[in-house]
């Protein structure tokens, strides 16, 4: 769908395309994530809608040039509203043979490969497990191969620089970036500014990196390597102020916003674990917001200290990933019994056990929903996109406080590290979170419930005349005294369950994308939103009547969900697990829901979901 035109200040014709997906790949040391982020910024400035997904190498720094050491960054950008970082990349930028090897299988047929041909020397080829040089043995003939001697060209461009050879060499990622900027007609200025800022302490570094970027750009413009370049028109985004944001950033902002909306300090207790640690790092910077961060000795201490902070009147949030969430489950039971607000963020990664720590998955849902001892109901929420983490973090805090309950917020590695443009909210539009620690000393009972929400009062130590004792033993209705009475126990079990069911009062009506009844309904949750929504969009664009709903609330389910499901002949649940939401839906509604399951440590592509839809209709 490319239309040729002539770019004003460039030497070659410009083709207009509506969506492009690029993957940058190289050694962890090659600055791939920086390149990706810069390209993202430039793209945001160019006014496209976009989605990104970094893919880090396994936890340990693998040896340079090795397969496990490859770091990727994929970005997709478009003139339309898009929801994913794209399926198969159109262009793969591979800085070394290992990067080529690891990523080739994801490249669409006929895709473009830009390689740093200088890196295809024997040693590197061997490290990547190539017997012969793939640039020369014809094995890449299905692709459009563009080898560029980036190392040499960069070295040449920087001949004059007073920097050491090694330092000059490190500029080569900007040289490569310059080539791609030209190819996709991106503005250089944001990156030139970034360089100026980042290396502010060393003018030589600024000069060299800026030169590398511009040289790459000019090289592409001047030489015969490319005959034309591409432009993606500005997207028709709703007007407003935007920034590009990752899920982690959005989540952190959401937590801080919740704290301000509730006029209640935020306490974040955590133990580092990939890919959740960044929340701790970012919150630790926000001390002037009164945020207290506590790096605990382990996940159990993290959740326990957080429960303590909640008990003492803070908004208590603890963040972790799968194995850490397993360790927290006993203590979450205490918060259920003590009926204290608590937010547990689980940035899911591929399991079981240590699994693949840097890869994404959605396989901790059942652990969150039902994985504790006893009948131990909690609220379970999941954001749909990186930017949605902002609202869902607020929602988690709001429900935790309103219903005096633990709330799990299920994100994943893809949401946490992926990014998208975020239209900045009008802060005055955010709803206050009502918090009260008041009670009438004369009538106060620790387990006297609000008749609507069934929440007990959040009385906090320090209030005279309200001294009370609670704990993890079963408690008598109203008084909260320890009770072993059989009938009281059953009543309390049912009350705790009912309290969580009442959260459905707070869930807005489910939005159906497409018709309200029909042959096929897709149900997505969490990070699969983008791929599922886009796939449904595509088949609908082809005239097929397929609908979808996306769940942000999984426990409890929205009140109208049962009715919606029953209105379709087939319900399909695509998930990055073996069918966990499917189990819960079947369990709740007794309906024969079908699944589309992928457990590869990576998100769905739109194509995968589309294909499954087409099988079913």
């Amino acid at each position: 769908m490319a239309t040729k035109s002539q770019a004003a200040n460039n030497n070659k014709p410009v083709e207009i395309v509506d969506r492009v997906t690029i993957r940058f790949a190289g050694d962890s040391g090659d600055g791939i994530q920086i390149s990706g982020n810069q390209f993202t910024m430039a793209t945001a400035f160019a006014g496209n809608d976009l989605g990104t997904m970094p893919d880090y190498p396994a936890e340990i720094r693998a040896p340079a040039g090795s397969l496990p050491g490859v770091s990727n960054f994929q970005i997709s950008f478009s003139e339309r509203d898009i929801h994913t970082p794209g399926d198969a990349p159109d262009v793969l930028v591979a800085m070394n043979p290992a990067a080529l090897k690891v990523n080739l299988r994801d490249l669409g047929a006929g895709g473009t490969i830009i390689v740093n041909s200088d890196s295809f020397a024997t040693a590197n080829l061997k490290k990547a497990g190539y017997e012969a040089n793939p640039l020369e043995d014809g094995s890449l003939q299905a692709y459009r191969l563009i080898p560029i001697a980036i190392t040499q060209l960069n070295a040449k461009a920087l001949e004059e620089s007073p920097l050491s050879k090694k330092e000059r060499d490190r500029c080569k990622n900007f040289y490569a970036l310059g080539v791609i900027y030209w190819l996709y007609d991106r503005p250089l200025q944001p990156t030139l500014d970034f360089i100026a800022d980042k290396f502010a302490k060393s003018p030589d570094m600024v000069a060299a990196n800026q030169t590398a970027l511009k040289s790459g750009y000019n090289f592409a413009d001047t030489t015969e390597i490319f005959t034309s370049h591409f432009r993606v028109r500005q997207a028709q985004l709703p007007p407003g102020e935007y920034r590009n944001i990752t899920g982690t950033e959005a989540l952190v902002l959401g937590l801080v916003a919740a704290s301000q909306l509730a006029e209640t300090p935020l306490f974040y207790g955590s133990y580092p674990i990939t890919p959740a640690s960044d929340m701790l790092h970012e919150l630790a910077y926000l001390k002037n917001f009164g945020v207290k961060t506590f790096q605990a000795e382990d996940e159990i201490a993290a959740v326990c200290a957080t429960i303590g902070a909640s008990y003492a009147g803070s908004i208590g949030v603890t963040g972790t990933s799968g194995p850490g969430a397993a360790l927290k489950s006993e203590a979450v039971g205490l918060a259920v019994m003590a009926e204290l607000p608590l937010v547990v963020v689980n940035v899911q990664r591929a399991g079981p056990s240590t699994g693949m720590p840097t890869k994404t998955e959605q396989a901790d849902l059942l652990q969150a929903a039902v994985g504790r001892n006893g009948e131990c109901p909690v609220v379970v929420l999941a954001p749909a996109t990186p930017a949605d983490c902002f609202s869902m973090a607020i929602e988690a805090c709001r429900l935790a406080v309103k219903y005096m309950t633990p709330v799990y917020l299920m994100t994943d590695g893809y949401l946490a590290n992926g990014s998208e443009p975020w239209r900045l909210p009008d802060l005055t539009s955010l709803k206050k979170i009502t918090v009260s620690h008041e009670a009438d000393a004369k009538s106060f009972e620790p387990y006297q419930r609000d008749p609507k929400t069934l929440a007990r009062p959040w009385v906090v130590p320090g209030a005279p005349g309200l001294e009370y004792r609670i704990g993890g033993l079963e408690k008598a209705e109203v008084t909260g005294d320890v009770s072993y009475d059989p009938v009281n126990h059953e009543r309390m079990v049912l009350l705790r369950a009912e309290k969580i069911r009442r959260v459905a009062q707070d869930i807005p009506p489910t939005e159906i994308f497409g018709e309200a009844s029909g042959q096929l309904l897709l149900v997505s949750w969490g990070s699969t939103f983008g791929a599922v929504h886009s796939a449904v969009e595509r088949v609908r664009a082809n005239g097929k009547k397929v609908s979808s709903v996306h769940l942000r609330h999984i426990s409890p389910f929205p009140a109208d969900l049962g009715q919606i499901l029953k209105s379709f002949e087939t319900v399909l649940v695509p998930e990055l697990n073996l069918g966990q939401l499917r189990l819960l839906l079947r369990g709740e509604y007794g309906l024969p829901v079908v699944g589309l399951n992928k457990v590869q440590g990576r998100p769905f592509t739109i194509g995968e979901v589309q294909q499954k839809i087409e099988e079913l209709i």
Binding site: P190, A305, T306, L427, P461
Partner: protein, 349 residues
């Protein structure tokens, strides 16, 4: 929510004000009763409004303690009281936070949180009831049970070397470490008051009798006849004297301790003068090892040193950040970084 100072008119609290309405459910004769009584007795003297006091516990007989105190109380889960107390204190530093724990709760399942709350110097008072047994679960080995001990879980005798709670606390860098005995009530009150007065973490081991599952565990230190020979009460900047007639003392020989009889050429000035405020914890450690048959067991305060507390430093970093950057503006935070505007006509700038 910020605790208000007790209005001037409020009558001074009494012991009775700290007694809750819950029936105490320990076995008759349990040493826990004495600890409860001493705690209720000293509370009015601390000058802390009742509503600003929180008792936190794990699980165990000892951990039932909070129910009996008419203060705020949280009976949590096994081994985690120290972690929960850390959160309470950090979130709400005005509170006086007490952890009541057992040898199993505090040193077996809870050993790690104990280690870390101590080294962090969180301003929490920890009272460890050491009965050298699991009471609540009816008589299994605890980490302080002696080698060879026969219990329900070790029918032919324990094969593990016990922990010395005081040595452990010292190595964990605790800033206040003390020991008391359930039966020495006046001394226990003194120690508890000292713990309350210490700014920083306080670790108090109380030798406690479980008359059901480990009766007499501490009898050798309690016998009216010999106890003054078996105990030495540590007193700051005083020589280490003990014995019924205060006729014995402890002195240094090289790096070892030995007992000396006073008189016959040995005077108090030859004895060790104990200094609980010594920053180097080695000497406190040396004393904590004692308990050889021919040697008295030290009780009282082993260590009381000044250091900034974790909760205070946490609050200070926040105050400093706010002083430097002003209180955080959500607007500024959200509207930061690289931004662009999409105009109503769809163009972006």
């Amino acid at each position: 929510m910020t605790p208000t100072a007790p209005p001037a008119a409020r009558p001074a609290p009494t012991r009775q004000d700290f007694v809750s309405d819950q029936e105490v459910r320990w076995c008759p004769g349990c040493g826990d009763y004495s600890i409860l009584a001493q705690m209720q007795k000293i509370m009015p003297d601390l000058g802390i409004a009742r509503e600003n006091i929180v008792f936190v516990s794990g699980i165990g007989c000892s951990s039932r303690f909070p129910y009996y105190m008419n203060t705020y109380g949280f009976h949590t889960i096994h081994g985690r009281a120290t972690a929960i107390a850390t959160g309470i204190k950090c979130a709400h530093p005005e509170l006086s936070v007490w952890v009541m724990t057992g040898d199993g709760d505090g040193l077996s399942i809870g050993g790690n949180h104990m280690l870390h709350i101590l080294r962090r110097n969180v301003d929490v008072k920890i009272v460890l009831f050491n009965n050298r047994i699991y009471g609540l679960t009816k008589g299994q080995l605890s980490p302080t049970s002696e080698l060879g001990k026969i219990t329900k879980s070790t029918p032919v005798g324990s094969i593990e070397h016990p922990i010395n709670p005081v040595s452990f606390a010292i190595a964990a860098e605790a800033t206040f470490v003390a020991r008391a005995i359930d039966s020495e009530t006046a001394h226990m009150q003194e120690v508890l008051k000292r713990a309350a007065a210490h700014k920083g973490v306080a670790f108090v081991e109380i030798l406690q009798n479980c008359n059901i599952f480990n009766d007499g565990a501490w009898d050798s230190l309690k016998d009216r006849e010999v106890k003054s020979d078996r105990l030495v009460n540590l007193q700051n900047r005083k020589p280490l004297v003990f014995g019924k007639n205060r006729d014995k003392g402890i002195r240094l020989n090289g790096y070892k301790l030995e007992v000396a009889s006073l008189g016959a050429g040995v005077s108090e000035s030859d004895l060790l003068v104990y200094d609980e405020t010594e920053t180097d914890s080695s000497f406190a450690f040396l004393l904590s090892r004692e308990g050889r048959p021919d040697f008295p067991v030290p009780i009282g305060v082993f260590r009381d040193v000044v250091a900034p507390t974790y909760d205070e430093l946490m609050s200070r970093q926040i105050a400093q950040a706010q002083a430097k950057k002003g209180p955080g503006s959500l607007e500024d935070l959200i509207y930061s970084g690289m931004r662009w505007t999409v105009k109503a006509n769809g163009t972006s700038v």
